[in-house]
Subunit: 211 residues, 2 copies
Amino acid sequence: MALTFYDYTLAPSPRRARIFLAEKGVEYENVQVDLGAKEQLSEAFRAINPACTVPALRLEDGTVLTENDGIAAYLEAAYPEPPLLGVTATEKGLVANWNSRALLEGLSAVAEILRNTSKGMVGRATTGPIDFEQIPQLAERGRVRLTAFMDTLNTRLKGREFLAIDTFSYADITAMVVVDFAKWVKVEPQDNHTDLKRWHAAVAARPSAKA
Amino acid sequence: MALTFYDYTLAPSPRRARIFLAEKGVEYENVQVDLGAKEQLSEAFRAINPACTVPALRLEDGTVLTENDGIAAYLEAAYPEPPLLGVTATEKGLVANWNSRALLEGLSAVAEILRNTSKGMVGRATTGPIDFEQIPQLAERGRVRLTAFMDTLNTRLKGREFLAIDTFSYADITAMVVVDFAKWVKVEPQDNHTDLKRWHAAVAARPSAKA
C-alpha cells in the first residue's frame, strides 16, 4: 500500500484527515496509535513523528506529513477529484480562510477546554512531547471563544449550503469536527443556531463523516 | 487597484502576507489599520473584518480574506509565479506542513508570551473582538514551547537551504516571522543553533523581508 495513515479513531484531529481521505476515495493502510495508552510517546512512534501527534501520513517515498493542512495539501494535489480545497483562486482563498478560522477559533477552543479540565489530562495540557500542567483559566477562556465561534458559524451559514464555498470542502470537514468535538465539553449549537444545525445535519449525513 | 491590503506595518501577522505579496510582485493598495490606536476595533474596520484582525485582503469582487492561509492560497492561484506553496504534491504537503508547525508551535508561542505579559495588552490577551484577561502561566508555557520550536527549526535546517523544500516557500516566511517576532520577547536562536542562524541570515537578506 502506498500510503500509511497513523490514526486514533476516537480523536478529533486524525478524524479531519480520515474524512478527507474518504471523500477522495483513497486507499491506505491504517495504523492505530493508542493515545489512551500514550503510545504516541513511545520510541517506536517518535521515530515516525518526533512531535508525538496523530494524524501522520507516510507517503510512498518515506516523507511523513504530520499536520492536517500538510496532509490535505498533498492529497488534493495527488488525488484532485473531487476538489476539496476549491477550484478558482477565490474559492481556494475562502476554503483556506474558513479552515483556518475553524482551527484557530473553534478546534483550539475545544481543546483548551478539554485538556485543561479533564482528569485524564492532568500534567498533559497540550499534545506533543513536553508535559505541561493544566491552566483552568484557559478552559474558561476557551468556553467563551467556542460559544463565539458557534455564533460565527451560524451567521456565516445563513443562506449557504456549505461553509466556505458552494461545494463541500475541507473547511466543512474542520468545522464539523469542531461541532462534534464540542459535545465532549458539553457545548452544543443553541436553539437559535438554526443554520448551523441544518448545515451540521447535512454534512454529518455524508458517508465520509462515518469514516 | 484590484487588491486592497489592510495592514499594520509593525505587527507580525500582516508581515507574513506582505512578504508573500512582495515575493509575487503583486501591486495593491495598502491601508494601515493602527493597532496602537485600537483602530481594528472601530466600527469602520468591523464592517470590513468583523473578527477585528489584520491582515485582511479585499479582492476585486469584494471578497475579504482575513487569514494568512486564505490570502496565501488565493495569491498562489491568482499569481502562480514564483510558486511559494510547492509544485509537486509532496512539496505542497511539506510546505503546508511546516507552515502549520511554524504557526502553531512558533508564532502562537511568541504571541502567548507577549500578550500575556505586556503592560499594553492587559485585558487584551487575545486578538479579536472579545476582551480577555492575561494568563501569566500561559506566557511561561509559551517560553518553553518557543525554545523547543527553535530547536525543531535548527534540527530541520541541518543540511537544508530552506525549511520545507528545496526552494523558498511560505513556510520560510512564517518561520522567519517567528524568529523576528521572538526578539520582542527576548528569545533568540542559541549559540548552537548554527543552521537556524545561517538560514535566517539568508532569508532575512531577501528584498521581500523588508517589504
